[in-house]
Symmetry: C2
Subunit: 386 residues, 2 copies
């Protein structure tokens, strides 16, 4: 991470918060609905005259719509600036990029920290449990409002990849191509367990106050920081941790105490402490829950290929990383096998990397080349002018 000049953010961007009127309710899989919901989003580049060049980028658990512009709280560059910008794989000179904050999030889209119109108070735990399907349904409504019938591409990694797959299953005729990176067709037992640890850490913090902290003026920062620290380890490979930190000590070596003696401890603490400035603890609960409930096959008799049956004409690209143990290649292969069985067109690349799950957010030349090639080929098939 050190010594790398952050790339410039994309200058030409738009977006804000799309407000849906109370009669445009968002139906939820749980059976409930959200009335008068909002979707925070950013756009980059220009929509062409026939609205055929739109790419929806879907963010991961703790991501947001600031995919290629500075984060309003941290000031850091967009989280996928490696991939998005002029001349980048998702070329803002050519494509109209949309990124929305997911429903349940805390960056402008309606979530547990939003005000419940029925009570005038923050939802807290009265917010309905949402699913990946609900996130996608909200995105589809936004995309429609933007005047786009068919997305040229839907692209995402990790939980973003789940949304990509859900798009192709729920709206197969509104997606031309789909890129699913470092993701899975269902959440594994290990990943449910890891999410549960994060939730328990948050709920163990007395400042969480049964989820009502917003109204009571507290913040479960310690619990949320522990959740982030635990999760952060899973984003890296053992090799990456060893390479970056090894057993290197901070400054003066052994303290014979519980200070952050080792650099890896200091790094983790920093990850935890900085995360709480930009993220809401209840959003963490709701979004991890949506991931746990994710199982594309379940509504199709447990047969994943059946889920993709209607998505046969979508062009798929599936990417995974060798050292990703959170969403290992086996899970991407499950997607590819099901797509093959469904008769869909799919490119699959397992990328050699020692950076773990995090690789999808970093400068990975093979990922960038694979994405560029796939998008160029899809653009040609779509008849987009270069």
């Amino acid at each position: 991470m050190k010594g790398i000049t952050p790339p410039l953010n994309v200058e030409e961007s738009g977006g804000g918060v799309m407000r849906f009127s109370p009669d445009e309710a968002l139906r939820l899989e749980s059976g409930g609905q959200l009335n008068g919901f909002e979707v925070g989003y950013r756009t980059y580049g220009q929509l062409n005259s026939d609205a055929s060049n739109a790419i929806l980028v879907c963010h991961a658990l703790t991501g947001d719509q600031y995919v290629a512009s500075p984060h309003p709280t941290t000031g850091k560059p967009g989280w996928w600036i490696e991939l998005i910008g002029p001349g980048k794989p998702l070329d803002t000179g050519r494509y109209f990029i949309i990124c929305t904050n997911v429903i349940g999030g805390c960056m402008g889209s309606t979530g547990p920290s939003s005000t419940d119109p029925a009570t005038g108070a923050p939802y807290g735990l009265t917010f309905p449990v949402i699913t990946i399907g609900d996130m996608v349904r909200a995105q589809a409504l936004l995309v429609e409002k933007l005047g786009i019938t068919t997305l040229f591409a839907v692209v995402g990694g990790s939980m973003g990849g789940m949304q990509v797959l859900q798009w192709t299953v729920d709206y197969p005729n509104r997606v031309f191509s789909a890129v699913c990176i470092a993701s899975a067709p269902r959440h594994s037992a290990q990943n449910i367990a890891l999410n549960e640890v994060g939730r328990q850490a948050i709920m163990a913090d007395p400042d969480w106050r049964g989820g009502d902290y917003a109204g009571l003026g507290t913040r479960p920062e310690k619990g949320l920081a522990v959740a982030r620290m635990a999760a952060h380890i899973t984003y890296l490979s053992e090799a990456a941790l060893q390479r970056k930190f090894g057993r290197e000590f901070q400054k003066d070596g052994v303290s014979w105490g519980f200070d952050a003696d080792f650099q890896v401890e200091s790094y983790l603490r920093h990850q935890g402490a900085s995360f709480v400035d930009r993220f809401d603890a209840n959003s963490y609960l709701y979004i991890t829950r949506a991931m746990d409930y994710f199982d594309l096959a379940v509504a199709h008799g447990g047969v994943l290929a059946e889920a993709f049956r209607r998505a046969r004409q979508v062009r798929f690209c599936v990417l995974s990383f060798t050292s990703d143990w959170l969403y290992p290649t086996t899970e991407s292969r499950d997607i590819v096998r099901a797509l093959n069985a469904a008769g869909a067109r799919v490119s699959f690349v397992e990328i050699e990397s020692d950076k773990g799950h995090d690789a999808f957010l970093l400068h990975e030349p093979v990922m960038e080349a694979a994405l560029s090639g796939f998008v160029a080929s899809a653009a040609k098939a779509r008849g987009l002018k270069s």
Copy 2:
């Protein structure tokens, strides 16, 4: 775990708490010392007339001396009853088995919950930071008190394996053979990071009270439970979690909330909740710290083979499990390579198992056979009557 009748505990056992007088201080690597320390221990079987049949078993992070007899708090059978007993690989009809609670622990050995003789109050965080070397030094003093000059074998898994290696480095002439299972010659960056998450979870609990909870009548149970849950995931392989739980729901399926919907969540919560009944939070801090500081090579110019140079005549057995990602086979291979370079005799078996790190505590026929074979061969070399 279901459907297996727990094996009987070993009937013939002894032990208790060995009290060392104030003039028998335990010198510590940190520079301090413990005056009037105690060591909790259990023994099984009979020491023979020339005290040549003693096997020291070393426990892991949350283990204790109840290796083959019921736990006094939980009533559960000894944690290594698969390996220890009449006719078992560590045959109590033939060997005299000793297991001590580590210094820093909470089952009878002096640790942070013990009373500081200088103040009459529990040590809490005034307890000195201890190391694997300190644990071993306390064991060596106990073994001497029991009239044993040379141990026939030292055996342990995980942190127990670290103690085994430390024994051969610090007391090469007092160890005839050594069995190191699912362990490492140094704690990796990933494992330091995982331990740090557990410590942060404990210290985030307001009931921890800066470590003074014992005197203040609170217990950081929520923090300790979260630490245990996070750690427990690392003890299992992804495959084991998938096989045991998959995405199976509890009773009635989706609750659309934050109850333990999935069986894996319920299991983890149970692991956390039951752990706090038998373990002390400060001991968790101190023992994880000892693991983090563990790096056998560091006192030998960073060359592991140098650490083993004086242990050349010890007979080593190193075992690892294919699906153990906490202490992967690569780390056992590092031990084996260093032992080879040092000219020591070593048997190494990587055991095919999908049970993860936990495998060393379970019924693993290949492990049992390897251990039996190694111990029998060592007994023959030692001239022990069969």
